[in-house]
């Protein structure tokens, strides 16, 4: 069992409010990712779950028991730190044994658990080495191993992949997901990398400035972002945003072009923000394109092509086109918009009802 529930968590450092009321339920066996820009409070939240920081207000319960007043040691959780925090003066084996010895576990049991974890993580040949003699990826595994041997109620991972190089990060990401599937344990993972969040999470918690913006599965976040912030944060490259005015089912973008959004449940009039993902812009075949833009820059990636362009009205536009279309800088091209792929947000930035 590893169910965590947060109620009304607030945290202030002096006059600065870092968290402004967080309510969240993490189910047993779930892999939840906290994501958000730096300074959003995601690491602070994780540290409070761990017991390393105390909330200013609110309660933290694990499996229904209020653990708010308990110290970090007594919550039965394990944490993997951003810097791994391996004890540099102990061997890998001692690093993994340290926490178990502190609970006065029998020696044979300790050895068995270390052997299990080492086999699982394929670090058996490294057991007698010191952390200083390991590569970044190996240290990462040891840090995870140290958490695994504890058999914790839940794993807390604080940006565990951010110190790895790009290639290693991708493979460790996959390994962590596989490990989660295998252990079936609750994991709370903090990252600022939305790709990491999308690929690993059962559910993503998007945080900004101390508040939860949205909690949902990765695809729901992508397909139905609850507000402008989530829409801009999830998905790469970022979503194109256009200010527009509605009139009789037709959206008039600032400066001229009109897109017929007939049939969509949009308000008959008023100001909205339209969001279109770069992947959802299609190169127009016909003469009548929804949007006409002049190409500024082309990034050909082979499988797809990223086009930076400027609308006639001066707004910037980004399109990701499949394949290798024959385009050159300075070309004027037309883009079609599939109304079904358009996101619309009200003046307050919240997704319009009915979408």
């Amino acid at each position: 069992m590893g169910q965590i529930s947060l109620k009304g968590i607030k945290k202030s450092f002096g006059a600065v409010d870092v968290l402004k009321g967080i309510d969240l339920e993490v189910g047993d066996g779930e892999l939840v990712v906290f994501v958000g820009p730096s300074g959003c409070g995601k690491s602070t939240l994780l540290r409070m779950i761990a017991g390393l920081d105390q909330p200013t207000a609110g309660t933290i319960a694990i499996n229904g028991t209020d653990v708010t007043p308990r110290s970090a040691a007594d919550r039965g959780l394990a944490m993997v730190f951003q810097s791994y925090a391996l004890y540099p003066h102990m061997s890998v084996r001692q690093n993994m044994a340290f926490g178990l010895q502190n609970t006065r576990m029998a020696r044979a049991e300790i050895d068995a658990r270390i052997a299990d974890a080492a086999r699982l993580l394929e670090i058996e040949p490294l057991l007698e080495r010191r952390p200083g003699q390991l590569s970044g990826g190996q240290r990462q595994r040891v840090a995870i191993g140290r958490a695994i041997v504890r058999r914790p109620t839940a794993f807390l991972l604080d940006e565990p992949l951010s110190n790895l190089d790009a290639e290693l990060r991708v493979s460790m990401r996959a390994e962590l997901s596989a490990l989660h599937a295998r252990l079936g344990a609750t994991m709370v993972h903090v990252t600022h990398d939305q790709v990491e969040a999308m690929t690993m999470a059962d559910r993503i918690v998007v945080l900004r400035a101390g508040r939860i913006e949205q909690v949902d599965t990765p695809l729901n976040l992508y397909n139905r972002p609850a507000n402008l912030f989530v829409a801009g944060f999830i998905g790469a490259p970022g979503m194109n945003m256009f200010g527009a005015t509605m009139a009789r089912g037709v959206a008039r973008l600032e400066g001229g072009p009109e897109i017929d959004l007939g049939g969509l449940p949009l308000p008959p009039s008023g100001a909205v923000t339209l969001g279109i993902r770069p992947q959802h812009l299609l190169l127009s075949e016909g003469v009548e394109a929804d949007l006409t833009a002049k190409v500024d820059l082309i990034e050909a990636l082979g499988s797809e092509t990223v086009v930076h362009a400027t609308l006639n009205e001066g707004a910037k536009l980004l399109a990701v086109l499949p394949g290798q279309p024959a385009l050159a800088r300075g070309d004027v091209v037309g883009f079609d918009v599939d109304p079904a792929m358009v996101h619309a947000f009200g003046a307050d930035g919240v997704r319009l009802a009915g979408f």
Binding site: L52, A72, F81, S83, A85, L86, G99
Partner: protein, 349 residues
């Protein structure tokens, strides 16, 4: 020799001899003579017999008179090289009367020859008066002083390391009310050397019954602000995440200190330990005040007392000065680079 000088003189850059090069090597060789010379002279002198020490001008090396056992005489007789009208020969002295010495030929012991003492020089060989080193331990209390010094040094250093590291841990890894006040107090006491509080400290030591006790020497010296600063500065470089990881690992705060922070502070502890050993071994003024009975003297106080006696027995004092110097020289030889980088990094002494 030329290879040694070629090694020492080779400069990394430049070709000809600039005047600054001349100054450089002039200063360096002057330095070798002035810095090493006195200690070397001390060591050589410490092996000389009292008679040799009284000689002026002194010889560089210690000598001892050659002696010979001559038939018919109980004690070995000193040998002299006699040069007069009868030629040069080696004779043994039986006794001396005024300016005339009665001497015998060791090979022909029956015949006494009378020789003017101006016509002879002692027959000597390089020899070491080890007795200078043996006697103080047997006949005087030096063994006791040595024991006291070792006790003071070891105990004071251990207490210093333990208490300073504990305080440094609290001051570097905890947020608590009054931390700045404590830091400020520690900082302020940097300004109060022992010499300023001699009188009241003496009365406190007496009041708690530590006068003439080695603990009276040890305790006032162990709470060094320098040690706290050095260790705290080092502990600040230990990432807090390590401590948090240990807390997650169910470690108590004491275990965090003892099993995580202390081992990681080992380099700084080593530096403080070395310095503490040197400081406590060399302490003089405070032991001089607290210790007034010979049984509790440390080496430094004992040495000074002997050197202050009316009839200064230099042959013993020089030898014991060398003995007092030995531990520090050993520390220096083995840990020289460790110490010098330590000073350069911290300005600690």
């Amino acid at each position: 020799m030329s290879r040694v000088s070629a090694f020492l003189f080779r400069r990394r850059g430049g070709k000809g001899w600039h005047w600054t090069d001349v100054v450089t090597f002039g200063w360096l060789f002057f330095g070798v003579i002035v810095m090493f010379g006195p200690a070397l002279w001390l060591i050589m002198s410490s092996f000389k017999s009292p008679a040799q020490l009284a000689e002026f001008p002194p010889t560089a090396l210690p000598y001892e008179s050659r002696t010979v056992v001559v038939e018919g005489y109980d004690k070995p007789l000193p040998l002299f090289i006699v040069t007069d009208e009868a030629g040069t020969r080696t004779l043994a002295e039986v006794r001396r009367v005024g300016t005339t010495a009665q001497m015998v030929d060791p090979a022909n012991s029956g015949e006494i020859q009378r020789v003017n003492i101006a016509n002879r020089v002692p027959d000597r060989q390089v020899g070491f008066a080890w007795d200078n080193y043996v006697q103080p331990f047997l006949a005087f209390d030096f063994m006791l002083y040595l024991k006291n010094s070792v006790f003071v040094t070891v105990v004071a250093t251990l207490i210093t390391l333990l208490t300073n590291s504990m305080a440094a841990f609290a001051l570097s890894k905890y947020e608590f009310r009054g931390r700045n006040a404590v830091m400020l107090t520690v900082l302020a006491t940097l300004m109060i050397p022992l010499s300023v509080i001699l009188v009241p400290l003496y009365s406190i030591i007496s009041a708690v019954g530590l006068f003439n006790s080695l603990w009276g020497v040890i305790l006032p010296t162990v709470a060094t602000p320098t040690g706290i600063f050095l260790l705290r500065q080092y502990m600040l470089t230990i990432p807090d995440e390590l401590l948090e990881a240990a807390r997650m690992d169910h470690a108590s705060e004491w275990q965090i200190y003892w099993r995580i922070v202390l081992p990681l502070t080992a380099p700084a502890l080593a530096v403080l330990g070395i310095f503490s050993v040197v400081w406590r071994w060399n302490d003089f003024l405070w032991p001089l005040i607290v210790l007034s009975r010979k049984e509790v003297y440390t080496l430094q106080v004992g040495l000074n007392t002997y050197a202050g006696e009316l009839n200064v027995q230099w042959h013993f004092i020089l030898a014991m000065t060398v003995v007092t110097m030995i531990p520090v020289v050993i520390v220096f030889l083995f840990l020289q680079r460790f110490i010098t980088t330590g000073i350069a990094g911290s300005g600690l002494k």
